[in-house]
Subunit: 499 residues, 2 copies
């Protein structure tokens, strides 16, 4: 993406970003290895090597020459794509330069201290101890929010949210979550009543890791993962890493249950295909990156929820499951589908089904937003948590901190403004499939007979190949012809669970 | 290794080297992954990422500030270890700064062109085509040798050799190879006559990769490899990479034969344990690195030839082989030992046994040295090759270029001065074991009953923990009480093959 017109500042910026990208490649691979293969003895030198590279990348991203180059590039005769590319370079620059080095370092220290303590405080249900470590993290992220707010003109929470979902604002989140809040608790009750009389045959384990791995690989093939440009390995916490040309997915196996690994692998395959199909012509520039955390989740949930939990897809999974795990009554397609769509309120977000999951996210959003705006303090979290869990899912969580606000480490890791993206992703995914259905009425029948190409082509064309060409709201409008519309998510849930 | 005395220049140098070391960690891991796990789609971006890092490391190693720092450190109150450390920093600096950037780049291009063409020219036996690509490599390495010679005061070939075996000179190589040349051809004939009447039971394959891998891992355990600080994986060309705290070994498997993979794994385990036991206190500084290519090979050959091919060691291997590959008459200890010590002249160096291997190396040395000194040209190689193969191994290689000078890519890759290290390593290894035997007369009985700790302790104390504290000749003297002495290698071969 070097222009034929004279754009020396823009060209210089491209060269600098491509250099950073090549160095980030090494960081991505070493991080993947750290989670997937590294023996314990490598931990300390690996952490030092990654930190050294992070320091170098930060240095390249805060090079004083960048400010002037960005300003000069603004005045150059750029075409539309280059202008979008420059906008993304500016975003990256603002994010790297908004914070003074001292704040970056204090934040890093406070987070690593909080995360480390959390590992033992969570099992001990030690909220009082955890609060002492969470408080400095909150203080530093509030400071970060203040600085980001000053440089962007957004509210504090919006400035944080914008890091994960560019262009998304809390007014919009309020609108869509407010709508969800109206009908979700009722829907959950209705689905549970309906499923109460439903018989689900339980699979009989154990299922060997080798057989589960072979099943997962076959599911990835069915879903179009390009094995010439990626791998599947194991790690304690599944993730999708690597680089677009070489995507490194991980999963984990439990021998007493195959479904978690299978759906987890399918979920990561959605992330993986997004990465594999990002625009190659722009590779190395910020415009070639995946748009946002919410958009990424819309791809993993397109694969896991819209496709794999589709009643027609169970018929495609059945022969794969039987091939690798043997013959069992539980493996009949309709039973597989029932297993994959079972709804039950629970304490733990990451274990939640598609229907109750948004309740967890709404709760987090309704706590983290006032926390960041300074309207509440960390001490207020448990009472709010209890009230909202009662209200949204009918669960009593009093005194159970470890399965309450201590269940995951996001806040302790400084991730505020991140939780909404999970449910935004679920809603985007429903909207993509509603659009596909409108444009191609045979879609559900196509899926049931294994004709998945139309789905992949649509996602590739409208989402994957767009990279970061547009901010999220514009991308949503272009892909689906309308802004984010919660009606699609509601219709999806009603059709699947009450239809 | 920061002094309590005031040594600001030396301390600055330490900091710079540690920084480079942390970045090299990422390069090492990405290189390992490239060979062991990377799917084909990663090839281009990985090569670009590695090249970017090489450029950065070169830039750090040629920072103009270094020259002054090295000179100032010379004047600082350094202790003995620091002075040795500074000597190694100077060696690294000279090597990085001897060549102008233009030569580094031309060399890199010529080599990658030659290596690439070699892949198809070798199977086609196309010597005429290969010569066209080898000639520019030779021209550039001669230029490199000239520049290295100017900066070091060594002869051209010695300047190249010194890169791989610091302190070793061709006068010394002439002495030891000249001695070898006297008795080796006769010894080969004697061993072959003796083995002619010997019955070796052939193992019956196939042997599954999984079983071979389990056998290899057990052999590594027996040999003390630390699995908390390393791994074994697969690659087309086995190697030992990674970093001392996290050694990445690879091997390859052929289902029709288990011995190659087993001895290959044992060989790499010697390299691996050397790396794992380098001095941790100096980590990140050049003085903490393995001494040389020849010393490294002395460790892999200590494991493969001195230990694993020891008649007593076969008794330790037998139960492992039976456990993983089943019961076969071929797996009796005495038969395993016969399989591992079979001698036969052949065309291919990497397939050669312990007795004929030095003949291959002497041949390469006697060709590459005059080639580098400008006494012969690449066109002269085949005739010299034929004459020397006839003389040393009694083999006719006329017209067979692919199993002759094209059999390996070392010269095409610019590696001149490297071949002697293989046989120097074999001779060092024999000298280490001769010294151990002198100091501990029960050594052979200890090995036979599986008491390997004395061997490992000796190597750790005399070699591994010394890092690059001494140049090779001094290390040899300190470890064994005498300079390199070919009598030990001769006695080892005679005892094992004619005893």
């Amino acid at each position: 993406m070097t222009s034929s017109a004279s754009t020396p500042a823009y060209d210089d910026l491209c060269q600098r970003h491509r250099r950073k990208h090549r160095l980030q490649h090494l960081h991505a691979m070493a991080s993947w290895d750290q989670a997937a293969f590294m023996p314990p003895g490598g931990a300390v030198p690996r952490a030092e090597a990654l930190a050294e590279m992070e320091g170098l990348l930060h240095q390249l991203g805060t090079d004083p020459a960048l400010k002037d180059l960005l300003a000069r590039a603004e005045q150059e005769p750029l075409d539309d794509v280059q202008r979008a590319s420059l906008r993304e370079m500016q975003r990256v620059w603002r994010s790297a330069n908004a914070l003074p080095q001292s704040l970056v370092e204090s934040k890093s220290l406070a987070i690593s201290h909080c995360e480390h303590a959390w590992r033992s405080q969570r099992p001990a249900n030690d909220w009082a101890g955890y609060v002492e470590n969470l408080r400095p993290v909150v203080r530093l992220i509030r400071e970060e929010a203040r600085l980001l707010s000053e440089s962007s003109g957004l509210s504090k929470y919006d400035a944080l949210l914008d890091q994960y979902e560019p262009g998304m604002r809390s007014a919009e989140v309020d609108r869509v979550f407010g709508d969800l809040r109206q009908w979700l608790p009722g829907l959950i009750r209705q689905v549970m009543e309906r499923q109460a009389g439903e018989a689900v045959v339980a699979p009989q384990g154990p299922f060997s890791t080798a057989a589960q791995r072979a099943l997962g690989l076959d599911a990835m093939k069915l879903l179009g993962f390009d094995f010439a440009a990626g791998r599947l390995d194991e790690s304690t916490h599944p993730f999708c890493g690597g680089v677009p040309e070489d995507v490194r997915m991980t999963t984990r196996y439990r021998e007493d249950s195959f479904l978690q690994s299978l759906t987890g692998t399918i979920h990561e395959t959605g992330h993986g295909r997004y990465e594999q199909n990002l625009p190659r012509d722009w590779m190395g520039l910020p415009i070639a990156a995946a748009r946002s955390m919410g958009l990424h989740e819309s791809q993993s949930l397109s694969f896991e929820m819209q496709l794999a939990s589709h009643p027609g897809f169970a018929g495609l999974l059945e022969p794969l499951v039987r091939r690798h795990l043997g013959d069992q009554p539980a493996f009949a397609a309709d039973n597989l589908h029932r297993m994959m769509t079972r709804v039950a309120p629970g304490y733990i977000r990451v274990d939640a089904d598609e229907v109750t999951y948004p309740a967890h996210v709404i709760l987090r959003y309704e706590i983290e937003r006032p926390l960041m705006e300074g309207e509440i303090e960390v001490e207020d979290i448990p009472a709010l948590w209890d009230a909202k869990m009662q209200e949204l899912l009918g669960l009593d969580t009093r005194g159970n901190f470890k399965d309450g606000p201590m269940q995951d480490v996001h806040w302790g890791a400084g991730l505020f403004g991140y939780f909404p993206c999970y449910t935004l992703g679920a809603m985007y995914a429903a909207q993509w499939f509603a659009t596909m259905r409108r444009e191609r009425p045979s879609l559900d029948a196509d899926i049931a007979r294994g004709e998945l190409t139309p789905v992949f082509d649509w996602l590739k064309d409208r989402i994957w190949q767009q990279g970061s060409r547009y901010e999220t709201p514009e991308l949503v409008q272009r892909a689906s012809g309308e802004p984010l519309n919660t009606a699609h998510f509601r219709r999806h849930l009603e059709a699947r669970y009450l239809g």
